[in-house]
Amino acid sequence: MGRLHRVTLGIGLVVVALAACDGGSTAGDPDAGARLEDQRTEVRATALDVAPALAAAVGGRVTFMSGEWQGCNIVEQYLHRNFRYSVSGRIDAAGLDEASVEVLSAALEQQGFRTSAVEPVGSGRIGFGGERDGLEGGGTLYVENPFVLFGFSGPCIDVPKGERETWERRRDPDKDLVPKRTTSGG
């Protein structure tokens, strides 16, 4: 952008800069609501099926697991144009080490996921992941204080413009698949 152009833009646009927002051009899927509900069922079923298998592969257990709807691509302030359902949780196991991430990746593959390469995702963290029937699954092993965070997500679904606000604030009243604390007697 040229200098004179910038100055003009700066003086002129600073007032109206944020007033105009990109509302997103897509009309959205009219069946988005039903598809997102179906996705919730599918992602939760997958998580309930696969997460314990991952935990068993490293001799551990799922400490907690819960799900929620998430926005994918933001189109204007605080408003996404598409959403998906996602489940997150944690696995704890004694004796987890760097090699465990290969075991986890293999366990994911055994569950029918097409896995990608295991790789460091930052200091002290190694990631693994894969895809099955459009669902993403994966996790991160924390090397220094060994535990695993994992997640499963469905694909992003565009919702009609008029429904974005509703989905933005949508909460899952029954989000816990494995609650953190159990108070059953023993």
Binding site: M1, G2, V7, I11, L13, E76, S88, R90, T183
Partner: protein, 578 residues
Amino acid sequence: MTVTLPAPPATVPTLTCDPASVELFVTDLLSASAQIDDLGTFVPGTAQIPAWTGDDSVTYHQEIKPLGTRADAMSLALRHVSRRASQHATALQGFVTTHDDLVLRRATLVSELNSLRLQAPMIPPEQLDDFGADCTQLGNRIAAFDTDVTALVTDLGAEEDEMVAAFTRLQTLDQVEKRYSGVPDPADAALADKPPTSAGPAAVREWWDSLTPAEQYAILGASPGSIGNLDGIPASVRDRANTVALERDLAMLELLEERDQLTGSEKEHLTNARATEKALADVDDHVDPITGEPVTSQLYIYDPTAFNGDGRVAVVAGDLDAADNLAVITPGFSNDASKIPGITDNALNLYEATRVLGPDQTTAVVAWMGYDAPDGWDSPGVAFEQMAENGAERLADTIDGINAIRDDDPRIVPVGHSYGSTTTGTAATDHDMDVDDFVLLGSPGPGDSAEHASDLGVGSDHVWVGSNSKDIVADLGDMGWVNKGNVELGLGRDPAEDDFGANRFRAEATDRGMGDNFGDHSKYFEHNSESLYNVAQIVNGHYDEVSSADHKYDPLFGGPTDPEKDRDPGTTDTEGHN
């Protein structure tokens, strides 16, 4: 020799209780106490009509007097039972913890007992002594365990009895009046010593700490508004006071709404109250990605009618009184209290990212709608610094208040987005703020006083700028030698420019637009984005983990250049899902 295996450990009774729901009940009681206290204040105050004379006036004033006295007594009684209920919630939390520990202990004991059972038939005679010692040792542990189970049941029963008794003693109006009629409200004397706001947050903290727990609780019930937004009061106390005020507002305004009696300003008030309620619910609904526990929410500022109805609200994700790292997000143009759920979503994303990237550190992120940002009729204010200057003073006060409530030295990082970065930058240059780093996102300029990053008072190494190359607003800051600043226009320098001297970090979005656009201005807090990853690393103090970006520059010949335009954006994991 005969060895006897120990008896199995006692069964841990099922415990079904929810301390959080008791806390909600406590808030309801306190809210009711505050409303009735208002009536007690109203009767000897506004309800008095000195100009009205005659027999009717005498009758009127005589009739309402007992109403005021009775309201005061009922307010005190409600406060008393709410305090007892609050203690009950704390006790229940302790019982839940004890219960869960017992369940785990029992599983271990049963496993060890089964192991001994399996070994028993195969123990050779020469090892019977050792085996017997193992059985005795396990038997002792089981006996201690059984005692603890009995204690849990006994203590829980006693606690429930005391709780019921506290309510039973104040079941009727007679009981309430007998006990509390004419009793001075402990809140009155305590509030009389409250230092003026000008005394500063340290003096407020000292005053608050000097009060007895009973006096502190009395103020919560009688006058939550006097401490809810007072800098120097601990965040957990402000949260309770403001929640009482919020509950009171919702109860009153929703009743008026039901009767179709809301005025225009009351509608705005109700909108802000509902938005605040929603934001708090959003935080409560989230679980910490590392612990799986619910994220703590705190209502740190609640003044829903401030700024001609735009409102002033701050919601915290995390515990401001205790977290290691604190971030304060200041939003920009077109925001007011009704937008607090969206601002809080950004705060939650940052909270989650800091936890995923630093699981050993705790975080609290403030969604700070604490100033009058340009929006609605005063939108043109976005072109000038006046609103940022006013907001800067309030932001500095908030930071001072946070420092006053902490005896340790937490990391504090103000994060300004859009016009909020102008407010944040101005707070840095115009006020002496005790913080560690500054983050400016999508900045149209950090204010005229910030010619260089070093002007922000934390050292240029601690000034961080996220500016994606497609963000049209981040292009509005002054660069080079020909600019709006020369004619006293605009909001200051572009902090992403090389001459400004700040650290620029990567903040490109994978779904960035083709050309400069407004959509990319809103992507800085998105999960798995370069921007959120880097902001979280800065808040955690992990400077080495921040991925730096080349600065914009403005050569003598040719226009301003942003090297980030030519770089392919990357993804980073801020959720732990890879």
